[in-house]
Every structure is written in C-alpha cells, then in structure tokens.
Chain length 190, copies 2
Amino acid sequence: MLPIPDEKLDPRVKRTRGLILQSFESLLAEKNFESVSVQDVTGKAQINRATFYAHFQDKYALLDHSISQMFKQEIEKRTLNACHYTPDNLRNLILVVCEFLARLHTDCAQPHNQFESLVESTIKRQIFELLSYWLKQTKSKTSAELPATVATWAIYGLASLYSHTKKRPALEKFVDEALPLVAVNLEQFA
Amino acid sequence: MLPIPDEKLDPRVKRTRGLILQSFESLLAEKNFESVSVQDVTGKAQINRATFYAHFQDKYALLDHSISQMFKQEIEKRTLNACHYTPDNLRNLILVVCEFLARLHTDCAQPHNQFESLVESTIKRQIFELLSYWLKQTKSKTSAELPATVATWAIYGLASLYSHTKKRPALEKFVDEALPLVAVNLEQFA
DNA sequence: TTTTATCTGTTGAGTAAACAACACTGGAGC
DNA sequence: GCTCCAGTGTTGTTTACTCAACAGATAAAA
C-alpha cells in the first residue's frame, strides 16, 4: 500500500487549491452555505476571483469537492478504503458517517436545506462507491448494485437521523442497533 | 531589490515573501543561521529556489530583512516611530532593544558569531535612524550625528550585555540604571 | 589526484495567477 | 415601471512563479 505518489502537481496549483478549500471551510463555520459568496472565498484566500473559476466551476462544485475530500480523509484514516465487506467494516463505515454528519452540524452554522441536500448527494455517492468496491471483491455472482444502493440509503438515513436528534444517544450504542438493519441485505457478500 | 513598497502589491509577491520569512524564522528556531541553506528555506516555504533569488540577493539579505522587520514591529507596537526625543521614549527604546536581543537568544539556537554580527549591524542601523529622526525634530542647531552615534552604540552595547548575562537581572531595574548613562549626551535635545 | 556530493546563483522557456475589464443576473428600494 | 447594487462568469493581457538545466564553489571521501 503505497502512500500515494502525491501527484506531481505544480506547487502553485496545490497552494491555490489549499487556500480555497481552507478559506471555504472556515467561512462555513461562520455563515451558512447560501450566504457564502465566491468573493468571500477568494477574498479570504487572497487570490483573484478569476483564479477560482480556473479550479472550480462554481461554489457548488467547491462544496462537493470539499465534502468529498473531508469524507475521504475520514475513510482513509480508518483504512476502510483498502477493505472488503465484513460486518465489522460495515459497522465502522456507519460510525464514520454518523460522526461526519454530526460534526458537520456542530461545526457549520447552517439550518438551510440546499446545503444539506448537496451534502447528502455527495456523501451518498462516496458511500455507494465504497460499498460497490467492497462487494465486487466477493465471488458472489449477483450484481452488487441493488444491495449497495439499499445499504447506502439506509446508512445515510440512519446517520442523518442520528445527527439531527437533539439529544444524541451514545454513538456506539446507536451503531450497534443500526448495524443489523443494514447488514441483513449484505450477508451474501460476507 | 526590496524597496519595500508594501501596500498595493501583487498578492503573489506578498504571499511568497510571507512564506519565505515565516519559513526562515521557524528554521532559525531549530538550526543556527550558518546551517540554514536557501534550499531549506525554499523547501519549507514550498516555493521554487529561483523564486527566492527574485526577492532576496542571498540568505544574508534575508536575515537582514527579517531582523529589520521584526525589530520595526516592536518599535511600532510602542509607537516609538512617531515620537520625538524624551527621556521616557529613550527608556522605552532601551527596553525594546534589551527585550529583542534577549528573545533572539532564547528563540534562536545559534552560538555562532557571524549571526550575531549581522544582527548587530542591522539593529544598530535601525536604532541610529530612529534616534536621528528624534533628534532632528528639536530646534537644536548642533548636528545630531555624533550624539546619535554614541547613543546607538551605547544602547546596543548595554542590550548585548543584558542579553548575554546568564542570570539576567530584572529588566526594569537594569534599564533604570542604564538610562542616565545614555541620556547624558542627549540632554540638549530634550 | 579524481571522484562524488551538496549547495549556490543564474538563465530561458513554459505556465499559473493577477488584473482590469466586460456583459449578465436577481433582488431591494423608490 | 425604473435604477441601483452586489454578485456571477468570462476574456485578453501582463506579471510572477516554476522548472530544468547550467557552471562554479566547497568539501569530504576514494
């Protein structure tokens, strides 16, 4: 498992993207997503606005990329990106999603729903890709598409529920209860 | 090369210079000046080595600029840059120089003397310019050059003594003793 | 001696970013 | 209706930075 060759990218590009991401995330801690403008981001990042558009199509693409990156980091932190399907890995995945959404709700100041729906589609895409990767490694001849879809939606739904409850139950306990509900459709891949 | 026009300046220039300064100063906290290479600085700053030479002639110019900046900040912090000569301002100046050299000796890991002599000439230049500015504002007809020179050397000498003593006396007390020795030649400007 | 190695300071060409415009949109206020 | 305002995307030109290569210096092996 190589530590990723760290794309030989122009240092200026790395710097600029880093500044954009960093500024964006810190702005999300103050304002809600809808009221963060591209100008705000480029202003805080101290880069030109035209430069922003050389890297992202618009602020929605930026949000997508930002959320993807953060989520991917969490996945890699637990090496779930180099796994196959096991109930335990699934359990960890559910845990990560719950933690991630919960943190998003405490860190970011935004009750708006455009933000939430954008986050949802981004995260679900990530979950689905990971699950597909897991399930493809088994010798099961049945397609993984439907089970992966069901599990993806179930996981996100549970994590969303968890992150929205005012008085959150203990995470470990919640995941223990949630796991079997998701695992039931994936047993054939174990 | 560095006329230091700071306000309306290309953001890339500001960023690059900031990165260089910042990297240099953090490297000085680890190594002594002689063993810090230009490569080290540009490496830590994540800029190309050729870019460094577009901003500074060599690492000695960088040291000069770095020390100057830091010292100037201390001066401005106490608004000594917008003053005329009074015994109290002189007292504060002595205090700043003592503090500055003392902090330099605790923050930077360098017993070498090339570093020290470079610092000395840089700081003395700053002190001399400030004193000249102060003394020029009085109506005294006598030239300020000789008194400013004497005071400059005296102040630096005292601060150097202070910063080198292993068991430093209380700063306030030290300055109280030092002040009259310096002020005696400047009374005509008070 | 020659070799190997690391750092320096400089050059020319290629590229990312800055800048200063531009037309356009949606909303607020009159 | 209208203007005003603030933000969006885009463009052509200029500037700053990157990159690879260079010769020279220094020093420590071989």
